[in-house]
């Protein structure tokens, strides 16, 4: 917990000052608010009771001043708290975002994007809420308690002893209630997750639900969960309902005690009616502060989980870092694998690539064929160093990829992922992703090479057409070609296509390959494909099977020697007519 609080403190940066200022102002406010009624008591005793108007005015002025001071300080504290809270959230989000940008693929896999999103959104929100309340209350409530107690003791120390008896009753009572309720709330959150899951699956699968006519069962499923929420929530709330009788009993007990003993003291002459009124007033203050303190503790416990989840992201060790003296220039597009073994979990017994050695000269084309889980994607991801090998080494341009500056390496090795992602923005903005400084002419050339230029200019807004989130306003083939153009615009030395022409028709695909041959002859191209047709003309074709090289050679060589290749070829040949 402490290390996490320290971390947040460091992240506060320029907001540290305002964070410290907040509790001080809050205490000042609380102090002034506490003293005002004290002055009131004096006014009643020395002014009203004696009929001395002079005294009344005197005390009234002071009381007003203190009240205004209290209001000013508290309001300022509130503004500071808002500033500190917003600043804290901003810095935490920025730090998390920057840290995620440094994450390697392995780090991303470990958390999963969905979990990273939750951590950056709702977890930060809940920590911010707790933070802004805490910095105002953390000092204020104890201070208010302290002031009120001091005043109570000054007014009449014998009567003030009542609070010493009641304080532990409240703290223990609240602790008992919140620890009792907490597990129910935890369980409740889990049930909520289930409820969301039922709705989510139902809405996403609405077509399935309708075609299989399973509405009634879906409703039953939902009812079961919503019933559970009803039960569990009622239970938790019933436990929390014990708070108010606890507080009220304590309040009333203190009032009765003060009234009884207080009137004795008044008759004895050691206490005054004005003091009695203020003491009753302070008893409220004291009990409220006690309740605040207990609530704060509960809040701290509740937001703790979120804080932990945030710190997990911030503390995550990035496993891919730049070497000390990185090479900044990739000389050419040679790609070499030397006895490469790779495992996602870093465990040599669970390698998904084993003993891979191959050499692709600069400017040549390598095709990769293999079934699901053969390790095709894993293999190409090692080239731009998205993962580090478990064994052996991968070289690009003659240097080990681990010796390069990561940005330099990835700028030279362009990769079109299997899951193509276009971002919301215009086509132009999406294309410029790869190379923000590209000229319009370069952009058009890249699009021409990817055979998408004609389509783009046929759109009413041309290159300024808006791409919707996920690129849903384009067909699969168009999306793939846009992604290829985006990669080409980087003018890479190595271009990797991970099954990214599957939706492009064979003729267009042929045109794309033709354009590459003539226009970017020095770029090394690595293509993963399901269709033999896509790789047939490659200089080399690699057949992967279960993480190992099953065959490496030209189309003709493999057709003659490799069993898997023959099989795939045969199954496709009788289905498709080659162009």
């Amino acid at each position: 917990m402490w290390s996490q609080i320290k971390k947040i403190w460091q992240l506060l940066g320029e907001y540290q000052k305002v964070t410290i200022l907040t509790p001080f102002l809050a205490v000042l406010g609380a102090g002034a608010e506490t003293i005002a009624p004290l002055l009131m008591a004096a006014m009643i005793d020395q002014g009203v009771n004696t009929g001395n108007l002079q005294q009344i005015y005197w005390y009234a002025t002071w009381t007003l001043l203190f009240s205004l001071l209290g209001m000013g300080a508290s309001a300022w504290a509130a503004i500071c708290a808002a500033r500190a809270g917003a600043g804290m959230a901003k810095n935490v989000r920025a730090a998390m975002y920057a840290r995620i940008q440094d994450f390697s693929f392995r780090n991303i896999d470990k958390f999963s994007p969905a979990s990273l999103i939750t951590r950056m959104t709702s977890d930060v929100n809940s920590v911010q809420n707790a933070f802004s309340i805490l910095i105002r209350m953390a000092v204020r409530a104890p201070a208010s308690l302290f002031f009120s107690l001091v005043v109570a003791f000054i007014l009449n120390w014998r009567l003030a002893l009542i609070f010493l008896v009641l304080a532990p009753v409240i703290i223990i009572g609240m602790y008992f209630i919140s620890t009792r309720a907490h597990p129910h709330f935890k369980k409740l959150f889990k049930i909520y997750d289930r409820l969301n899951l039922v709705v989510e699956e139902n809405v996403r699968g609405v077509r399935v639900v309708k075609t299989f006519v399973t509405q009634r069962r879906e409703i039953n499923k939902f009812h079961t969960v919503s019933d559970e929420i009803y039960q569990e929530f009622s239970l938790a709330e019933k436990i929390l309902a014990a708070t108010s009788p606890l507080m009220e009993i304590c309040t009333y007990a203190s009032i009765i005690a003060i009234a009884w003993f207080g009137s004795h003291f008044i008759i004895e002459g050691t206490f005054t009616t004005g003091e009695l009124i203020s003491l009753v007033n302070y008893s409220m203050h004291i009990l409220m502060s006690l309740m605040m303190i207990s609530m704060m503790m509960v809040m701290l416990v509740m937001s703790r989980a979120a804080l932990e989840r945030i710190c997990e992201v911030l503390d995550e060790v990035v496993d891919l870092v730049n070497p000390e003296h990185p090479i900044k220039i990739v000389p050419d597009g040679r790609v070499d694998f030397a006895c490469v073994g790779f495992s996602y979990v870093g465990d040599r017994r669970r390698e998904c690539l084993q003993n891979i050695s191959l050499h692709v000269p600069s400017g040549q084309t390598l095709g990769i064929i293999g079934g699901t889980g053969a390790g095709k994607t894993s293999l190409v991801q090692l080239i731009p160093r998205l993962y580090d090998t478990t064994q052996g080494s991968v070289r690009v341009g003659g240097h080990d990829v681990r010796d390069y500056d990561l940005k330099a390496l990835r700028d030279s090795v362009a990769m079109v992922l299997q899951k193509n992602v276009l971002f919301s923005g215009t086509i132009r903005q999406n294309l410029r992703w790869g190379n923000p400084h590209a000229s319009d002419q370069e952009m058009i050339t890249a699009c021409q090479q990817a055979q998408i230029h004609d389509f783009i200019v046929s759109l009413p807004a041309g290159y300024d057409t808006q791409v919707e989130q996920g690129g849903t306003n384009f067909s699969g083939g168009q999306r793939q070609r846009l992604c290829i153009a985006r990669a080409l615009l980087k003018q890479p030395k190595v271009l990797i296509l991970d099954d990214s022409t599957s939706a492009v028709d064979t003729k267009t695909e042929g045109l794309i390959r033709g354009a590459w041959k003539t226009q970017i002859p020095n770029t090394t191209i690595i293509i993963i494909a399901q269709r033999i047709l896509s790789v047939q003309q490659a200089d080399q074709i690699l057949v992967l099977d279960d993480g190992q090289i099953s065959g490496l050679g030209t189309h003709e060589q493999l057709l003659a020697t490799n069993k898997i290749y023959q099989e795939v070829y045969a199954s496709q040949a009788n289905q498709e007519v080659t162009s």
Partner: protein, 622 residues
């Protein structure tokens, strides 16, 4: 103008609030009890607040004056008070305790109503509303409603009854001092209204920026791997920082106004307290208005009980406004028009005795359509589209005068570009959408006359996208027929060619699937979808091929599975890979909502038209 819009909005809110309160009706007796208890508790609080004044005026001052040391009357009064206090504790506890089932019950009913309605909404609704929007009604909007019904509403009721009672007591005690209190309250309300207006405005801006930031986070983090591949990190951070800074500013503004409200209200309360003390003191000293020391004490006490509920109400107003916005979204969902179904014809099990169809309860494998007049028509699977025209949005026809037929057992394939209208045909046959013109006949019956549930039960559909549900593999295959026995499920899996991969899963058929079966490959998910349709054993199949790329071996498995499924059934295939269509009885080539070519593979190849170009790879299929 502004005034006008404001009043109409106010009016709307009013209706909304009324409707929301009507949700409490099923719990009216309990809610009425709670209301009575709240009033009793408030009455108790008012009496309590008067007590200190009473104590001073009736007991302490006379004792001081007479020098008596007889504490018996005081003790008796304290004992009475203890009883009143205790009564108050019990009453307020009961009011809270009894309210819990009301709040939770209302929420449960609202959730259930929403979900039930969701099940009966037409597909258009899901097309026109974003997934996130639908979800947030079950999460955010219901949460704010919980806050409102469970906390704000009782608080406001308590506060208002409190205010009324306190004001009555105050007037009864001293009219002039009440005026002082009222003056301060007036200022208080004016200030809080000003603050609330500002905070409300900034709150809206803040919510919007928060949505933008969350949207950006969602988009970029989901595409994080692409960012890495393009080493686009620095630009991503730059874009994020710009929005993040904006959010911090708006957040600070909105929260500053919201935070400032409470301290200002509290101090106004103090100010009122002090003013009453001062003015009351002056009045007492001068003997004006019959103000006594005890009266000042109890009046000051009362003023506390007046300012507290007022600041409470002003604080709750914010959350009530937010909750009402949520409630309006919830009610909008509940008010959505459900899918219409005027069909009268139902699907029944049948048997044939002496060539005569008879309805039967047992599953015979033979089905019949039962007309409202009791006449039975055998379900054979004859599907005819006659001059069908359809548009999702008026004026943009997706299908134009489409006619074709599939006789029982025939396989018809549809090919064409994305957007040519292929998938729409399946959507119309199972009446996800209703056609604008023309007729669709099923075994000679207009599908508009068939009950939707029965129509859909008679069709086996493998959709383009596979949706799996949390549960075991077995549960997922048996999704359409939960009572199916083991052997039937296994047989269906075998038909679909899914059995072998399922056997290789860690727990076989009992393997738990989570997150839409994300552990399975696309191909495996499709195999499960085929098995799911196979279990139903329907006479008519609609296969909408998946577009995603699948490795050759799995594709062959899927192909065989589909072939098994199609055997002996009327089948409509929406083809994305031309390999599927060659054996079709007829191939319909679609373009811009029309059938432009039709015929067998051989005939179309000879024609050298669009089909020929598609087949030879000259056009993209998607």
């Amino acid at each position: 103008m502004t005034n006008h819009t404001m009043t109409t909005r106010h009016h709307l809110d009013h209706r909304l609030l009324k409707r929301l309160l009507r949700q409490i009706w099923p719990f009216r007796w309990r809610a009425a009890c709670v209301l009575v208890l709240i009033i009793l508790a408030n009455l108790d609080t008012v009496i309590n607040s008067l007590y200190i004044g009473l104590l001073i005026d009736k007991y302490i001052q006379p004792m001081l004056a007479s020098g008596s040391h007889d504490f018996t009357p005081l003790m008796l009064s304290l004992m009475t008070m203890s009883c009143i206090y205790l009564f108050g504790v019990v009453v307020s506890f009961l009011s809270e305790y009894l309210m819990i089932p009301v709040t939770q019950g209302v929420l449960k009913n609202i959730r259930d109503k929403m979900f039930v309605r969701l099940q009966h909404l037409p597909l258009e609704y899901f097309d026109n509303n974003k997934f996130g929007d639908i979800m947030s009604r079950f999460t955010n909007d219901t949460d704010t409603l919980e806050q409102m019904i469970g906390r704000s509403l009782p608080n406001v009721i308590t506060s208002i009854t409190m205010i009324i009672m306190v004001v009555i007591t105050m007037i009864y005690q001293s009219f002039y001092l009440t005026l002082v209190a009222a003056g301060v309250i007036g200022v208080m309300m004016w200030v809080s209204a000003m603050i609330l207006k500002r905070s409300g405005r900034y709150f809206v801006i803040h919510q919007k920026t928060l949505g933008d930031v969350n949207g950006l986070i969602e988009e970029t983090i989901s595409g994080q791997k692409v960012i890495k591949v393009f080493s686009h990190e620095r630009e991503a951070i730059r874009d994020f920082t710009r929005l993040n800074d904006k959010l911090a500013l708006n957040n600070q503004r909105a929260n500053a106004y919201a935070n400032v409200l409470m301290p200002i209200m509290i101090n106004f309360g103090n100010l009122q307290y002090i003013l009453i003390g001062i003015i009351g003191g002056i009045m007492a000293v001068n003997g004006w208005g019959g103000v006594s020391l005890g009266l000042i004490a109890s009046f000051m006490y009362l003023s506390r009980n007046l300012s507290r509920p007022i600041s409470m109400v002003s604080q709750q107003l914010n959350s009530i406004v937010v909750a009402l916005a949520g409630a309006s979204r919830i009610f909008a969902l509940i008010d959505e028009q459900p899918e219409e179904d005027n069909g009268q014809i139902t699907l029944v099990n049948a048997k044939k005795t002496h060539g005569q169809l008879q309805e039967t309860r047992a599953h015979t494998g033979l089905w019949a359509w039962k007309k409202p007049d009791g006449q039975l028509v055998e379900l054979e699977g004859d599907v005819r589209f006659e001059h069908v025209t359809f548009s999702y949005q008026p004026g943009k026809p997706v299908l134009n005068d489409v006619s074709f037929y599939a006789q029982p057992g025939q396989k018809i394939a549809f090919v064409g570009h994305t957007g040519a209208g292929k998938t729409t045909i399946t959507n119309l046959l199972n009446r996800f959408y209703d056609i604008d013109a023309g007729t669709i006949l099923y075994d000679g019956l207009d599908i508009k006359d068939i009950k939707k549930a029965d129509l859909r039960r008679s069709l086996g559909i493998v959709l383009q996208e596979t949706n799996l549900f949390t549960g075991s593999v077995r549960d997922n295959i048996a999704y359409g027929k939960p009572l199916a026995d083991w052997s039937a499920i296994e047989a269906a899996a075998k038909t679909a060619n899914a059995d072998s991969f399922i056997q290789h899963l860690p727990q076989g058929y009992q393997t738990k699937l989570e997150g839409d079966g994300s552990d399975l490959s696309q191909g495996q998910r499709q195999l499960l979808a085929i098995a799911r349709a196979a279990l139903l054993d329907p006479p008519v199949m609609i296969l909408d091929e998946a577009t995603s790329s699948i490795d050759t071996r799995t594709e062959r498995l899927i192909q065989e599975g589909m072939d098994n499924l199609m055997a002996g059934r009327t089948t409509l295939v929406i083809a994305h890979r031309l390999s599927t269509v060659r054996q079709a009885r007829a191939i319909m080539v679609m373009d811009h909502g029309r059938i432009i070519e039709s015929g067998s593979h051989e005939k179309l190849m000879k024609q050298k038209g669009v089909y020929y170009q598609l087949y030879t790879g000259a056009f993209e299929l998607e």
